[in-house]
């Protein structure tokens, strides 16, 4: 029995290790970072989410859309209906056709999804020196390292290029971007936003807040998932313990 359990454990480790090996090699090493939403009991700090929204709205949304997030979803950050209406109304979305058969622009309402700042891909590229600012809805799940990658990319990542490295005009040197030449200008500088809650808007602070916000945007059910996980796993452990007891009982007349 003990031997079998041991072999099973080895098999599980091998399987997980094999899965881990599926990760592509040769990635740039990211400095590790702790997040409030890490771990079994991890959770989002609503204040950080609201600050992150502020950074996203005031800075990033000039270039990036958030297509999978509707304004009504912001209720999860602790906003009430009126606040959400006000946030939405700051954005223009296309609607129509009207009774004249024409498309028109109107302020967004809570049921609208966060619009892209550009009319189409070509317009976005022209405005950004040929590069396309990707939609950020899933960014925190679409890059190795997730929020830690975003945090480092937009914060510490923008450094002076090492001696001898030529940066093409319209590109910026970034330590953590694959290939190091990114078309995004450093988006954050101290004080670009004034936090409603009075927190000092340093670059690391803003990078952390907006990365937290983007993690929420990518995985809005993260907290619900972790909460449910605890209950399910505790239940399963008790159930399995009972099943083991029943098994011992049933097998008590079979020596093995």
């Amino acid at each position: 029995m003990r031997k079998t359990v041991l072999s099973l454990a080895v098999a599980a480790v091998l399987a997980l290790g094999a899965a881990d090996s599926a990760r592509a090699a040769g990635e740039i090493k990211l400095p590790p970072k702790d997040w409030s939403f890490d771990g079994v009991f991890g959770t989002f700090d609503p204040a950080a989410l609201q600050r992150g929204l502020q950074v996203f709205k005031n800075v990033c949304s000039a270039c990036h859309g958030l297509d999978f997030v509707a304004f009504r979803n912001l209720a999860a950050l602790g906003y009430d209906d009126d606040q959400i209406k006000k946030i939405a109304a700051d954005f223009q979305v296309q609607d129509g056709p009207n009774d004249q058969g024409e498309m028109f622009m109107r302020p967004a309402v809570p049921s609208d999804r966060w619009p892209s700042p550009f009319a189409n891909e070509q317009a976005a590229r022209v405005a950004n020196g040929g590069a396309l600012p990707p939609d950020l809805s899933l960014m925190a799940k679409a890059r190795a390292g997730g929020p830690t990658y975003i945090y480092n990319l937009i914060g510490e990542g923008f450094v002076e290029p090492p001696a001898g490295v030529e940066v093409t005009p319209g590109k910026y040197y970034n330590k953590y971007f694959p290939g190091h030449m990114i078309s995004m200008p450093p988006p954050l500088s101290e004080g670009v936003v004034e936090y409603a809650d009075g927190t000092k808007a340093t670059v690391p602070q803003m990078a952390e807040d907006v990365s937290t916000f983007l993690m929420w945007a990518a995985e809005p059910n993260l907290i619900a998932r972790k909460r449910m996980g605890i209950k399910v796993i505790l239940f399963l452990i008790v159930l399995t313990g009972l099943l083991y007891a029943v098994k011992r009982r049933v097998w008590s007349d079979v020596a093995h």
Binding site: M1, T4, V5, S7, L8, A11, A12, L14, A15, L16, G17, A18, A19, D20, S21, A22, R23, A24, A25, G26, V40, F68, N73, P134, S137, L138, K141, A142, R143, A144, G146, P178, A218, P220, N221, R225, K226, M228, G229, V232, I233, L236, I237, L239, T240, L243, Y244, V246, K247, V250, W251, D253, V254, A255, H256
Partner: protein
């Protein structure tokens, strides 16, 4: 003992359609099972549970999923965000595929260790391999459905393999795609087939179990059941043991679903498919990596030396090697010449078994690495060893090895009062059940 009950409803049905006695005979108290099965024998029922989980969650996903290139990615995100508990269903299905493969791979290696593929269970073994092939096809097509970058590029790379077939290859690829590239018709048919194949698997599972019941389970000693004293009824002994195994399985499964749901996935699949942008590394899911490594191991054309005549192009060679690695398993019952089933009594094979395990794990790792530098020769050596194991070592070992003496019967070591396995004389033998 024949099936009996006092319940009038069950008796009424049983008289007209003896389904309850059939169930009892299949997985109940009427099915005699060797009494010495260890926990490695839990993985068969676990595979069945995994299949049920996949079908149940898959049907639920299909109710919300849209198989169209413009909507597929978006519909999956809608499932994740707007459908009640959609994230749960999808994470179960997504990780369920990985767990299904973990379980089935352990199940297969169990068979290799204890010689379960040998006479008279050859057909049972081959039906299992058919299930494995169907699972691979199902998982491959399922992975295309969310229409992320890896979905698209994985589909492109793998379907393109068929172009290696001489003369008709290109036409086959066009036929598979339903066009001239992986596009909407491809996604549509993959969805149709992804929905269909699990039910085909279910059918083959029925045949697999039918074949199993002809001679019953093999056991850790690998010797035949000699009589009722060697067996215990499946229910309640193995049903309760299987339930316990399912509990352990579900705990491990739940840990991944709730805390590491994207651990086994690839981040690129959260980027919508873009036919104009090739990802830097196209890596299949982990359960395909050993085969992917073998595919890429053949980097050279095979021809007649010194003449420049190419008989098999490298690409075709890779495809043959990859499919050959599974097809060869169909021949294993005849490649293995040893009359002894269990590796317990095969001092040499026991070691080569573990070398094979290490070889496959290594291939899995090689498959995840870019095909350059040291990984190419390592992949080639591991691939060569895989085939050497089955084609050369298995036939030879049976002849060279001196197996340890086999116990007379499953209960013999116990009756003598000692031994590695044991079932006491007090155990409820089959005839009393």
């Amino acid at each position: 003992m024949a099936f009996q009950t006092k319940n009038p409803v069950i008796r009424w049905i049983e008289y007209r359609m003896p389904i309850f006695s059939f169930i009892d005979h299949s997985v109940g108290s009427g099915y005699p099972t060797p009494k010495n099965l260890n926990y490695w024998w839990n993985f068969g029922s676990l595979a069945g549970v995994a299949l049920m989980i996949m079908i149940a969650t898959g049907v639920l996903l299909a109710m919300q999923y849209t198989p169209h290139v413009d909507y597929a990615f978006r519909s999956v995100e809608r499932i994740m965000r707007d459908v009640n508990y959609g994230w749960l269903i999808r994470y179960i299905h997504m990780n369920g595929a990985s767990f299904f493969f973990i379980v089935v791979y352990i199940h297969i290696f169990r068979g290799l260790y204890y010689g379960s593929y040998k006479a008279p269970r050859e057909l049972l073994w081959m039906l299992g391999l058919v299930i494995l092939l169907l699972m691979m096809a199902t998982a491959f097509m399922g992975y295309v459905l969310p229409w992320g970058q890896m979905s698209f590029w994985g589909a492109t790379v793998i379907t393109n393999l068929f172009s290696a077939i001489p003369v008709i290859g290109d036409s086959i690829v066009t036929w598979l795609w339903g066009g001239f590239s992986v596009a909407n018709p491809t996604l549509n048919r993959f969805f149709a087939l992804h929905y269909l194949l699990p039910f085909v698997i279910l059918g083959v599972v029925v045949l697999h179990i039918w074949a199993l019941h002809r001679f019953g389970s093999n056991n850790p000693l690998g010797i035949d059941v000699k009589g009722p004293q060697d067996t215990i009824p499946f229910a309640p002994y193995y049903t309760v043991k299987d339930y316990f195994g399912i509990g352990v399985f579900l705990i491990a499964f739940a840990v991944v679903i709730f805390y590491l749901p994207n651990y086994m996935g690839h981040t690129d699949n959260y980027i919508e498919a873009n036919p104009l942008q090739t990802p830097p590394h196209i890596v299949p899911e982990w359960y395909f990596l050993p085969f992917y490594a073998m595919l890429r191991a053949i980097t050279f054309n095979i021809g007649i030396p010194f003449t420049g005549v190419v008989l098999i192009e490298a690409k075709l060679g890779g495809v043959i090697t990859m499919f050959g690695s599974i097809l060869i398993l169909f021949l294993l019952p005849w490649l293995d010449t040893s009359p002894v089933r269990s590796a317990k009594f095969r001092p040499l094979y026991k070691w080569f078994f573990w070398v094979l395990v290490a070889d496959v794990v290594m291939l899995d790792y090689v498959g995840s690495q870019p095909p350059e530098g040291i990984w190419v020769p390592i992949g080639q050596v591991c691939t060569a060893y895989y085939f050497i194991h089955f084609l050369i070592l298995m036939p030879l070992l049976g002849k060279l090895e001196r197996p340890k003496p086999l116990p007379v019967s499953i209960s013999e070591p116990v009756l003598k009062g000692s031994g590695p396995v044991g079932a006491a004389a007090t155990a409820q033998p089959m005839e009393k059940a």
